[in-house]
Symmetry: C2
Subunit: 250 residues, 2 copies
């Protein structure tokens, strides 16, 4: 997690390039996961699409560019199927889904970083995910009795889930109190929402892995899986923080 | 095709509502096509997402709303998988792809209609698709010798394809000459691009149907398939016309 913390600390171009690289690594892992299902997404199309999205972010382009980006991503995925003998429909569907789920979701870190006076809130993305993870684990171990969703993730409990939300609120609240005092209440609310979205992100990744028949997305950090296993919660907390800033605070 | 012509003629709210309804009908057909592959996309999520997109169009909202729309569409598709025993991964992938391919692509008709002084160019969307279809057919029958892509669509020939582009140029050029004289050259260029995109749209639909193992998307018009069979080219010419206006003319 150290590279991630450094990326967040510096912000700006460091965050921009760092998140871009992490997104491409996570996308590779996601697409590799599909190979276990004999589905072969087009990684080069995913990368091309990511470059397009980040170009839009770099030059802060307007709506029509985002729409064009969606259009071209789908067209490329469709053209990929033109080699009809060697492609399955699922190859294109998985390519498209990977672009939005991994590349687009993580791209919200860049968007939060570009919000000017609210850019420090990028820390809330990571603190809500961490706070949820850590507190959910300890509350679950100490007090967990009722299963949350045994078919998706057998060890998770309702008690752990509530503890996780609390953990997110505490970390985000502390951060808000000390570093963004005028926005303390907003940080607490983001903490609550972050605790929920973080768990949706975690469960979504679990569902994908379960359906793909894999345990981890990769083995970058031995015993801790790949990049995507580390950022699965962040994928969902990053957009949440961005839209909270864009729609509620601004 | 008469309802489509009426929708184009009136424009404004008639076009807005008409395209919305056609999009939902086409989406239903697209999702039904997946059932032949034992994939069950979530039609209600597709409809919900379509309502969101059209709300953005109605109130002409800005970038962050479009981004939120993408985010929520993916989140809903992910939540759909939480009923893990009854869902396959492909259900969510197909749901997402349908929203972008059918709902988002056809939505560009609304965007073209909203361009103010260029709104008449919405006719180029349909003329390039029609011109291509008709001329490709006759050129193919009369002069067709070399197969274009026998594995996707066995009857199509290179001669027909070139004739199709010509047909699109002629119809769009005539329309430009008589109704948008100051933009005549742009209409001719749109005719060329429309001839290409129209055929990509047609072939994309053919690939989907072939992979789904169906002949037509529906049977709304006996012998002519469903809505989606009628608008498969338009799905690709509509965005092309919109981006041409937004990036080249404006």
């Amino acid at each position: 997690m150290v590279p991630l913390l450094a990326i967040f600390y510096f912000g700006g171009y460091v965050l921009f390039i760092g998140v871009f690289i992490l997104a491409l690594m996570a996308l590779k892992e996601f697409y590799d996961g599909f190979r276990a299902m004999d589905v072969k997404p087009a990684y080069f199309i995913g990368c091309l699409s990511a470059v397009g999205l980040y170009a839009i972010g770099l030059f802060r382009l307007d709506t029509k560019w985002y729409l064009l980006w969606i259009f071209l991503t789908i067209v490329l995925a469709a053209l990929y199927l033109f080699n009809i003998d060697n492609r399955k429909l699922e190859d294109a569907l998985a390519t498209i889904t990977g672009v939005f789920y991994i590349v687009f979701f993580s791209y919200h870190l860049v968007l939060v970083d570009q919000t000017g006076e609210y850019r420090l809130m990028v820390w809330l993305v990571i603190f809500s995910a961490f706070g949820t993870d850590i507190m959910a684990y300890f509350t679950g171990v100490l007090m967990g009795k009722h299963k949350l969703c045994p078919k998706i993730s057998p060890k998770k409990t309702i008690e752990g889930s509530i503890g996780g939300i609390l953990g997110s609120v505490i970390l985000c609240g502390l951060f808000g109190w000390f570093f963004m005092h005028p926005y303390f209440i907003h940080c607490v609310i983001i903490g609550v929402l972050g605790g929920v979205f973080s768990q949706i992100g975690d469960l979504t990744a679990s569902i994908f892995k379960r359906k793909m028949g894999i345990k981890d997305y990769g083995n970058l950090i031995p015993g801790h899986g790949g990049v995507l296993d580390r950022i699965d919660s962040i994928l969902f907390t990053a957009p949440m923080v961005f839209y909270y800033i864009a729609f509620i605070i601004c």
